[in-house]
């Protein structure tokens, strides 16, 4: 199921709207303009996800590629192992979310990284002790190979009951 031309046009309009300078590329400042993102606890991470490592700008194809993760999953897709995994499959969506946790890209969510996420989400309202207890418990629950970090497989397993196809999809991008 390919993305329709109408959707691409809509995304391009949005891209142009965000690109205040008209340079054809988005910079960090353009993303920061979006007011709601500033209020979002993990806004910085989301913005960071659009930029490939080392890159300073985002062009339109990259923009679409990142957003394509959030297209609704096509459940009737035949499981063809020769073709690469489509970018909006459940695994790809989970991988995208995993990379948002795993900032240093070592393939694991360490305790420090988890603590960082919790700190961002819960802000000033909790003590450091409580954060540590939560992080400890979370790792203890999910960590099956006892390496004190959550790997992608463990992450996937802890979310097996959540309907990711529904949760991580936006109708806009169908």
């Amino acid at each position: 199921m390919k993305i329709s031309p109408a959707h691409i046009i809509r995304l391009y309009d949005r891209f142009e709207f965000l690109d205040k300078e008209g340079s054809g590329q988005l910079r960090l400042e353009d993303f920061a303009e979006v007011k709601e993102l500033a209020m979002n606890p993990i806004g910085d991470r989301i913005i960071g996800a659009f930029f490939s490592p080392g890159q300073e700008t985002v062009d339109f194809p990259s923009f679409v590629r990142i957003l394509a993760h959030f297209r609704p999953t096509d459940k009737n897709r035949a499981k063809d192992s020769t073709q690469p995994e489509p970018v909006n499959s459940r695994t790809s969506k989970l991988k995208f979310a995993f990379q948002l946790y795993d900032q240093d890209r070592d393939g694991k969510i360490s305790r420090a990284e988890l603590l960082q996420v919790l700190r961002e989400m819960l802000g000033m309202q909790v003590t450091e002790e409580q954060l540590e207890s939560i992080a400890d418990r979370a790792i203890q629950e999910a960590d099956l190979d006892r390496d004190d970090a959550i790997s992608f497989e463990e992450f996937r397993k802890s979310l097996e009951k959540v309907n990711i196809e529904h949760k991580m999809s936006i109708r806009f991008l169908r």
Binding site: P41, I46, A97, I134, Q140, F155, L173
Partner: protein, 695 residues
């Protein structure tokens, strides 16, 4: 060989014992029912009672002939009504109990069917005796039996799946019910016009009225059935949500057609007014419920000193919401649901753990009793009610109900799937269609109709449809679910990981929607949460818990539950969050029994004193506990166990490194226990005595 015989005889002995118990209970049922019905049917006439009551007075006052002082006297009239009500309820519950004792029965036949069957038997017995069996009075049903079930459903409604599928549920509830009503009504009318069926007297409006009554899916029946088949959350919430929300449509259609059935014609203006009425009824009902819900939440903010009556506030505010909505002919069910949903998050943040448990169990208890009584009464009313059996009408009704439901669901799903992110498969559509049961609401609405020759025929048809759906569909849905391999409910507790990641994903999706400039589901949910946190919570939640983030309260609840569970299971296992610190060696040293006893006595004496200071048995002294009784109990037991272990280790002369490590970690552990079982404000609850004991 001998063992086989022995076991089989034991089994048959047990089975025959069960049968004997059940038989005895049945006898009790019939006897009491007979007497009860006689009294119920005569109960309205109160004149003989005063006369009878006068006599003993009179007799005792006269001194003309001296009678012996009556040591034992019999005065049944005095307690008749409460006695009979209690007896009915008690026997209904004994029946329910009986079903679960009989081994194979509850697996094959759903409980609702069994209860209706018992009702039939009871009704039959009463009729055989020659008395008039009591009928399910509509006032009794709508005012006393229905609200507990709906409140139970509404208060514990799973909000997340409900709001995610709200569009689908609304389409099924509103459009689906309308389609059902008009299709059945229209087809019935068309058939009635055919010569030879003898139904020429049924006009269009009566048919439509009948269609309106029979079209709505019944929440009681759906609840009773779906609870037993453990189907996955999506299907459950779809059918159940539909059964709750179609009440508004039913109310409007019923009143509309009832008004006009006598006048005979409907104009366009009336139809337009009907549409307006629908919006008024549904939105008005929700508004009334929301107001009462907020009132209830606000009241619960101040109940920290009177914990005992907290559950009552929840029940009374909800019941008032229902009654207030009924006063204005608004949808009482939607009002009740709105009240429960509105109240719940704030009330739960304010009330004590014990009140929460009380509310949960009382609601479950009342709804269970109501459900049982409803089904039994349905059975009795079947035997009792005046019937007018018309083959064409009844059979046609049953077939039409089934067909229109199937068509409606399939057609609507085709349209809905264009808008859904996760589409409904054919299997799921079938289950949704098959799960559309009719129940006591249809019967009561039919019973409310004014008395004309149509009413008996309608009632018969309604009862037949109810029986068909409950018995046939109810019994076959479980094997069908297994056959079609529909996903079952995943029985599991929510883990902290799920909670963290779900919140993370919420934020992520909101952010992505903002990047796209798309004001979707997540955007509005986020806005609502912010509004809630900024303004509403401050008003409705007491003290500092108003600023507590959801994750923290979830985590605390989890830890508390686990701690209570661990203590109850009697083991001294550690909490998971502290497990990683402890080494794996577990050598327990031996000391003499006498020494152990001495130590135990010492400990008990010390700990006992602190405990007495906290214990309070007076109802009015509940406020002395700064926080839950459970917590202090848990702490004590944990500390006692730890203390005993620690002292034992220290007394042992050759304490090796491992034990020393363990002891140090024990201290750490205790600090951790204290921390993790914190009240959210972060304050440590200090026992002054506690420090002495540790030292």
């Amino acid at each position: 060989m001998a063992e086989l015989l022995g076991s089989s005889s034991v089994r048959s002995g047990r089975a025959s014992f069960c049968l004997r118990v059940v038989g005895f209970v049945l006898l009790l049922v019939f006897a009491a029912a007979a007497s009860a019905s006689r009294d119920i049917s005569n109960g309205t006439s109160k004149e003989p009672n005063p006369a009878r009551e006068e006599d003993p007075h009179h007799r005792s006052n006269t001194t003309h002939h001296k009678k012996a002082f009556p040591v034992l006297s019999f005065n049944y009239e005095h307690v008749r009504t409460p006695f009979e009500i209690s007896l009915w309820i008690l026997l209904a519950l004994l029946m329910k109990l009986g079903f679960h004792i009989i081994p194979r029965l509850s697996h094959v036949v759903p409980e609702s069917c069994l209860l209706i069957f018992v009702g039939l038997l009871v009704g039959g017995i009463i009729k055989a005796i020659g008395e008039k069996p009591p009928i399910l009075d509509s006032t009794l049903f709508f005012l006393y039996l229905l609200p507990p079930i709906i409140l139970d459903a509404g208060y514990f409604l799973p909000i997340r799946p409900f709001t995610e599928n709200l569009g689908t549920i609304l389409v099924f509830a509103v459009v689906g019910t309308l389609w059902n009503a008009f299709f059945i009504g229209g087809m019935m009318y068309a058939v009635c016009q055919i010569e030879g069926t003898g139904l020429g007297g049924v006009d269009l409006l009566s048919c439509l009225l009948f269609g309106a009554i029979i079209s709505a899916v019944d929440p009681v029946a759906v609840l009773a059935m779906f609870e037993e088949i453990h189907i996955n959350e999506l299907l459950h919430i779809l059918v159940f949500g539909e059964s709750l929300l179609n009440d508004a449509v039913t109310v409007v259609l019923y009143h509309l057609f009832e008004e006009f059935a006598h006048i005979g014609t409907v104009t366009v203006a009336d139809a337009f007014l009907g549409v307006v009425c629908f919006f008024v009824v549904s939105l008005g009902g929700i508004l009334v419920g929301a107001i009462y819900g907020i009132l209830g939440a606000f009241t619960s903010r101040f109940t920290s000193h009177t914990r005992v009556i907290e559950p009552l506030f929840v029940f009374l505010y909800s019941y008032m919401a229902y009654l207030s909505a009924e006063v204005f002919h608004l949808s009482g069910i939607m009002s009740l649901i709105a009240c429960g949903v509105m109240m719940r998050p704030y009330v739960e943040a304010n009330i004590s753990h014990k009140s929460y448990t009380t509310i949960k169990y009382f609601l479950k208890m009342w709804s269970s009793v109501s459900e049982t009584l409803i089904f039994i009464f349905l059975g009795v009313s079947t035997v009792a009610g005046p019937h007018s059996w018309n083959w064409t009408f009844v059979v046609l009704t049953v077939i039409l109900c089934f067909v229109s439901r199937m068509l409606g669901v399939v057609g609507l799903t085709y349209i809905i799937n264009k808008f859904r992110i996760v589409k409904l498969t054919k299997k799921e559509q079938f289950i949704v269609a098959y799960g559309g049961l009719r129940g006591a609401i249809a019967f009561s609405l039919g019973f409310l109709l004014t008395n004309d020759k149509m009413k008996d025929m309608f009632l018969t048809a309604i009862i037949t449809v109810i029986f068909f759906t409950v018995f046939v569909q109810g019994m076959t849905i479980k094997p069908l679910v297994d056959l079609l391999a529909v996903k079952k409910k995943k029985e599991s507790k929510r883990s902290i990981n799920e909670e963290i990641h779900t919140q993370f994903l919420d934020h992520l999706l909101t952010g992505i929607e903002d990047v796209c400039g798309h004001y979707g589901h997540h955007h509005w949910k986020d806005k609502l949460n912010r509004f809630n946190k900024a303004y509403v919570k401050k008003w409705l939640i007491a003290g500092e818990r108003s600023t507590e983030p959801q994750l923290i309260s979830f985590y605390n609840k989890l830890e508390m539950k686990q701690a209570i569970m661990l203590v109850e299971s009697g083991s001294a296992a550690k909490l998971p969050s502290t497990l990683r610190k402890l080494p794996s060696c577990r050598i327990i040293p031996r000391i003499s029994k006498g020494r152990e006893e001495e130590i135990r006595k010492l400990l008990r004496a010390n700990l006992q004193k602190t405990r007495q200071r906290l214990r309070s048995y007076s109802r009015h002294d509940l406020m002395i506990d700064p926080f839950e009784d459970n917590m202090s109990e848990v702490r004590f037991r944990k500390q006692r166990v730890e203390m005993e272990r620690r002292v034992c280790f220290h007394l042992d002369s050759d304490s090796n490194f491992c034990e020393r490590m363990r002891c140090r970690n024990r201290v750490n552990f205790r600090i951790r226990v204290r921390n993790t079982l914190l009240i959210p404000e972060g304050k440590l609850f200090k026992f002054s005595r506690e420090e002495d004991i540790i030292r």
